[in-house]
Amino acid sequence: MLIFVISAIDFHMPPICSPIVRPGRPAEASPMVSKQLSNTISSSRMTDLKELSLVSGKAAWMAYLDIYCLDADGALFDAALLSAIAALSHLQIPSIAMNDDGKIVLVSDEDGQKRAQEPVNKEKRKLTLRSIPFSLTCILHKNYILADPTAEEESIMETHVTVVLDTSGQLISLYKPGGPVLAYTSAIQDCAALTRQRVKELNNFLDKANSAMEV
């Protein structure tokens, strides 16, 4: 039985985050970051989609991921991906059961009468994240590589390279949408090395933050 689970991922840029964003029509960068996020999360296979299945062919969890940018100061995709991963690692799936009508109802611990129903999820649980992707955006300018640019640096220089690696060292994405500077193999290897270093730092940071929150 094939299980279809759709996760909706949206990246919003309200006018509060930047002077160039106007109310009404969406900002130019917003669909770009949304598509990149969807591609990265589906490519990395960070979560097992079968975990979100409740009854095969009948019911499944659907996750909505909405990211709002409050202050846009460059490298938006890096911040968006990191916040998405932190949110998914903090996600708790409630316990539910299926009653005789075939409907899904929430199981509360206080109600003893509902114990007769067949539980689908027996308790609250968290998503299991396998290998976690992290990204680093760099600017290429002549022979220089600038990591983690600000909005001002991004507006002046036009060649951006975003490298996404996961914790097992696999390349999830290498995104370079044009730009006047040509990227050669040595530049790409340098960007990958910088990203590997950042993956370690961010992974440690995320572990510390999650363990501090659980206490």
């Binding site: 130019e28 669909p31 770009m32 949304s34 598509k35 990149q36 969807s38 591609n39 490519s43 990395s44 296979r45 036009e158 060649t159 390279v161 690696l165 996961d166 060292g169 696999q170 390349l171 999830i172 994405s173 290498l174 995104y175 370079k176 949408p177 044009g178 730009g179 006047p180 040509l182 990227a183 050669y184 193999t185 790409i188 290897q189 990958a192």
Partner: protein
């Protein structure tokens, strides 16, 4: 470790290429590019007077409109538009026509895999047909990594699982645009780059031969 492909191609073999230009009469430049069953039609209008939104006093603006074969324009089409816009901006000499806007309309005729490289090739050929001044020509190729780790070029729709699309510059073989999908090791990515460069070299020979023939026989419409 050889991989048998469904259509009988070797891993390094491209699908048959078909190219024609000046097929639309109203457009200043137009080109049709087909790789196998994937076919893209591109039209170029301009340089023309810029709108208030797009106008830039120092450089020409480039506007890309992507029309899919079916359905409405979604996030994927918006992303393709942006990638194509930035790729074309990096190859055009934009300082020659300040305060102008050049429109590039890309119509997808059929999609059987490797759609974005096909669109890049069609758009570059249309720009040449329109007589837009370019620094250099860009050619694009798509590579795919199979489950067994074999790298194949120019995948069809069925073969597209973990794909990498590289647009490179023929003279210096630098990378202009890179988009990946799926997970692969960094070494596999670098191998894809090598294979992509070799394929881009043969592609640029094909483009140079056809455009060279065309430019001597017909003057440009924009000129």
């Amino acid at each position: 470790m050889e991989t048998d492909r469904p259509d009988g191609r070797t891993p390094n073999q491209l699908r048959p290429l078909a190219y024609s230009c000046s097929i639309l009469h109203r457009a200043h430049g137009s080109a049709s590019w087909a790789q196998g069953e994937t076919k893209v039609l591109a039209a170029v209008y301009g340089p023309k007077a810029g709108t208030k939104k797009n106008e830039n006093p120092e450089k020409a603006s480039i506007e890309v409109i992507w029309k899919p074969k079916t359905g409405q324009i979604g996030k994927m089409e918006k992303e393709y538009e942006m990638i194509l816009k930035r790729t074309l901006e990096s190859i055009c000499i934009r300082t020659i026509y300040p305060n102008t806007t050049t429109s590039v309309i890309v119509q997808v005729v059929h999609d059987d895999g490797a759609l974005l490289p096909c669109a890049i090739n069609a758009a570059c050929a249309a720009l040449v047909d329109a007589g837009i001044p370019l620094k250099h020509l860009a050619v694009a190729i798509c590579c795919s990594v199979t489950d067994s780790g074999c790298i194949i070029l120019d995948p069809t729709k069925d073969e597209e699982e973990r794909s990498l699309q590289v647009g490179s510059e023929p003279m210096e073989n630098g990378i202009m645009t890179s988009v990946t999908q799926g997970a692969m090791s960094v070494n596999d990515y670098l191998h894809c780059l090598e294979r992509g460069r070799a394929a881009c070299a043969s592609l640029s020979e094909f483009v140079r031969k056809n455009i060279g023939t065309k430019s001597t026989s017909e003057p440009s419409k924009a000129g």
